[in-house]
């Protein structure tokens, strides 16, 4: 019987290793797998690269992970959001490498990783400082830049409901990066609020089919 549930956060994060790329979902607190990220901060690994829209707020979640000293590099669109005390300090002390990526490009690069696309041309960022060093191409008279896929060794996501196959339903704007990160993680771990019986989710409304999900951990 297929059952993607694991019983602990440790089991959910088994296999994370030094140097891994970790996709952390969420936009603000909505859709953030807070408990998973907090659990990751407790694991003895180093030189992680974290991909997250922001650099965290306050001292928990992504901020706590940064504070734990396990993160070498942050890839995000907007590092300073809410109360970025941890990020600001690490950045000032040059203890954190930072890659700023336009939000749509960040999402599209993860989609490319999940969709088997080797790279794509986009107008976003063309001719700007963020395009420095990137391949350019004129397409239909418009300057484009080449962007590469952004896969994660782990994707940490959050959903409202799941069944044991890993089919996921989100809640309102808490959906945000979760579906695309689910496709881009070599191992995708979903923190879920509720586990429901197989067959109870509406097959027309499943936002992330279980094929993308490897592990489920319930965190009500």
């Amino acid at each position: 019987m297929i059952d993607k549930r694991v019983e602990s956060f440790a089991a959910a994060l088994a296999g994370v290793k030094d140097g891994d790329v970790i996709l952390c979902s969420g936009f603000g607190k909505a859709g953030e797998p807070r408990a998973l990220i907090d659990a990751l901060a407790e694991i003895d690994v180093r030189d992680l690269t974290v991909v997250s829209n922001n650099g965290g707020s306050g001292v928990n979640g992504v901020a706590g992970l940064l504070k734990s000293g396990r993160v070498r590099k942050l890839i995000c669109s907007y590092p300073r959001s809410g109360d970025p005390v941890v990020f600001d300090q690490l950045y000032r002390e040059q203890k954190l490498e930072l890659e700023i990526v336009p939000q749509g490009t960040m999402s599209e690069r993860m989609r490319a990783a999940g969709a088997g696309i080797g790279g794509f041309f986009t107008r976003t960022g063309a001719g700007t400082r963020l395009a420095e060093g990137k391949e350019t191409r004129m397409i239909d008279g418009q300057l484009h830049i080449f962007e590469k896929p952004l896969p994660g060794d782990f994707a940490l996501i959050m959903a409202q409901c799941a069944d044991r196959w890993g089919n996921l339903i989100y809640r309102k704007a808490a959906r945000n990066f979760n579906p695309v990160m689910a496709t881009a993680g070599k191992v995708t771990v979903a923190q879920i609020a509720e586990l429901v019986d197989l067959g109870t989710l509406d097959p027309e409304a499943i936002a992330t089919p279980g094929i993308y999900v490897d592990r489920l951990v319930v965190s009500p």
């Binding site: 909505a30 990526v101 336009p102 939000q103 599209e108 986009t122 063309a126 001719g127 809640r171 945000n176």
Partner: protein
């Protein structure tokens, strides 16, 4: 000459939005535009975190932490609204489906280049968010900004001095002094506040201005 207030600037932009447009409003002053859409004009607001049909702020007691806008503020959904994921939200932006993006700006050039993501002015890390996607992708981009910087220097420039967000994307600028169009023939003044003439406006604007043939005086309600 009495410059427009921030609310009056937002009112000016709101007045010019066409029924049926899908619109993304930047954080800050652009957000105010939604307060002044004329009654009965149906406009659909887009948020890059996965919402179409965003409504106003929730009533007390109806706040939902999973229903927030791109600025992390609590919001609501109107009938006909929908939720989708971030990538889909950016397909809408980057694919040219969003009819209008209204963003704040530090500078706009005579060719419509936009600089609004970093001032390089301090030691804090810059953030770009969705600004470059909106600037490059939306069907049209309007800038909403004070006509001059705090030191009085012009923000409408021959070329931008700050790092660009995108080239040639802005088609219209709403300032506290005027409404201007970026045209192949130059920066055209569509509207101007009472008590200011073209010469006066030119003094605080770097590129050469032209007066649109149908230019008019801005008549905005007090607010």
């Amino acid at each position: 000459m009495k410059p427009l207030t921030r609310r009056q600037m937002a009112w000016c932009a709101a007045r010019d939005i066409v029924e049926g447009w899908y619109i993304n409003l930047g954080i800050g002053m652009p957000t105010m535009v939604s307060d002044y859409i004329p009654d009965g004009r149906e406009i659909i607001f887009h948020s890059e975190n996965g919402i179409l049909g965003m409504g106003g702020a929730p009533k007390p007691g109806e706040e939902d932490p999973d229903l927030i806008n791109a600025g992390r503020g609590l919001t609501t959904l109107v009938p006909g609204g929908s939720f989708f994921h971030h990538n889909e939200a950016f397909v809408m932006i980057r694919g040219g489906h969003v009819d209008l993006s209204i963003m704040g700006a530090y500078e706009v050039s005579a060719k419509g280049d936009l600089a609004n993501w970093t001032t390089d002015s301090d030691t804090l890390a810059p953030g770009v968010g969705g600004a470059m996607d909106l600037a490059a992708g939306a069907k049209r981009v309007w800038a909403l900004m004070e006509h001059n910087a705090k030191d009085g220097s012009p923000r409408i420039r021959e070329t931008c001095s700050l790092p660009l967000t995108a080239s040639g994307c802005v088609t219209r600028i709403y300032t506290n002094m005027a409404v201007l169009d970026i045209t192949p023939d130059g920066v055209a003044v569509r509207e101007i506040v009472e008590g200011l003439d073209l010469a006066g406006l030119q003094k605080v604007t770097e590129p050469k201005l032209v007066l649109a043939s149908d230019w008019k005086m801005i008549v905005a309600p007090e607010m």
